[in-house]
Symmetry: C2
Subunit: 300 residues, 2 copies
Amino acid sequence: MNFSQFQAFVALAEMGSFTEVANAINLTQSAVSHALTALESELGVTLLERNRKGVVALTNVGQVIIPHVRALLAQVEAIEQEAKAAQGRTMGKLRLGNTFCLSPGLLASVMTCFQQQYPDVELVLFEGTMNEVEEWIASSIIDVGFVPLPATGIDSTLITTDELQVVLAAGHHLHAQRAITLDDLNQENFIMPKNECSFRLMGMTGMEPSRIKASMRYQASDSATILAMVREGLGITLLPRMMLPAKLDGIVALPLDPPQHIEIGLGIKARAMASPVAKLFVQTTLAWAHRQAGLLVPVA
Amino acid sequence: MNFSQFQAFVALAEMGSFTEVANAINLTQSAVSHALTALESELGVTLLERNRKGVVALTNVGQVIIPHVRALLAQVEAIEQEAKAAQGRTMGKLRLGNTFCLSPGLLASVMTCFQQQYPDVELVLFEGTMNEVEEWIASSIIDVGFVPLPATGIDSTLITTDELQVVLAAGHHLHAQRAITLDDLNQENFIMPKNECSFRLMGMTGMEPSRIKASMRYQASDSATILAMVREGLGITLLPRMMLPAKLDGIVALPLDPPQHIEIGLGIKARAMASPVAKLFVQTTLAWAHRQAGLLVPVA
DNA sequence: TATAAGCCATCAATATAATGAATACAAATC
DNA sequence: GATTTGTATTCATTATATTGATGGCTTATA
């Protein structure tokens, strides 16, 4: 039982190929094979189902064990980072999760800001749905990630708030209203993102689950596509204000009545046990948010 | 960087002697010395201040790093336990924390019950103040521990509730009252346990901090001593009902007005990442509490 | 079905790291 | 200043991890 064995195990679970993993962690294929065999025989269990072609799947035990292994490796990283930090050097790896539904500009801006301050940190970006990002944090697949609040089972820090907007074509019959009520929405067809954010966003309006399903007319993965469809009058959509372009061309964005606010936070598994770099990222993002407040990000 | 190096580091921090640690983990003194030197040189920092006589103290870096190391080793234990569990074998080590102020009978009873069910689990008991137990859980020094709720920064499970009682001599002028008010208490002198529990318990009555300090007449470390002093009329005390003997000889226990309930929980660092044995302990304790409910433990 | 390519497990050999035994060295104690 | 106690260091040994070569199995392709 040693670190490279654990590292190999996690990498195998992710990549599914011994040869590939071998290249990735600078070992020979033989070494990787040995490593996993040794780990399995020491633990007395099979961790990965495999055939002559590669890794097929995690066994049940493997599934149970892998979060612990990831947590272990995260602590190793934290230890190395603390040691570097004590020498005045801020470096290490940071796995950062983002959700499509959150402002792409927010992420880019924060990342730039962070990288300028800490150029020696290796930022690895993961993208997934809100639920995925939260799960990834809980299972140590990533170190920090943007999540809508409240987040359950992980620590989180409020970064900024946003407001849910109803977006519709400039010529839409509701376009002149000051705000959109639930009754208004119940008459409309929706064009929404392809992931579960849709249900969450639409749920915030107070619409019935059955109505939500029924009124979801189109789903697209890209927000620009969605807005284009809205512009064509194919339906309306719901988006956080930050997701909208600066110039609303052919579309209008209206608040809900009552208005719905979204809290965007930075999630981390356990603040106390986090790596120095992860803590710095939270701090930096928070500072960034404060600088931006009132500028880009209208706080409720 | 390997497990025995980390193990040696933690053991050295706890025991302070290379030779002693060597015996404890079945290595030679030389090996332990090598291990720490190697770890330090790989991390590029000094972890332990030491002289020719032994370990003097943790360095600053050492203090920062050691919680991460403990968390890491806890994950190793969890991995081993999961592997055993997958083979149907429940075994491993469980470090359990208890507080003096909580019923000694509770602990003993739960431990017996647990050991009967899982004889292959090595239970290691740690005793400390409430705050210590909570800190120990947070820094992975122990796996689970009894804590008063609400506990901050750790996961916890409600086990049982208790009621704070005012204990006074049978001949005390308040002995015939049905309940004791804050006004009553403000006239009295107190005999309390020697640890911080005292302040917490007395704080629950609503007394002013200054009044608490002023009225604390004697402090003793043993509850039997405290009760003996109360019996002698040297003062009154506050204790959870469970701490009192079954037969109240020469003393009376009265509720507060308003009554103050104490919630006793089992704390664990992070349920999701806990070892199988730790999870079982929580379950077992909870089941035990349910069986006892209404019998020994009057629930509010 | 033959052939080639890709991939993993195995074996033996080698490199590397962990450990042990002996010893030197420092500090405290008498 | 001798003795005890305990750590660091040196060197030899042992254990472990890693490699390189090989063979077997699978899949793809003709």
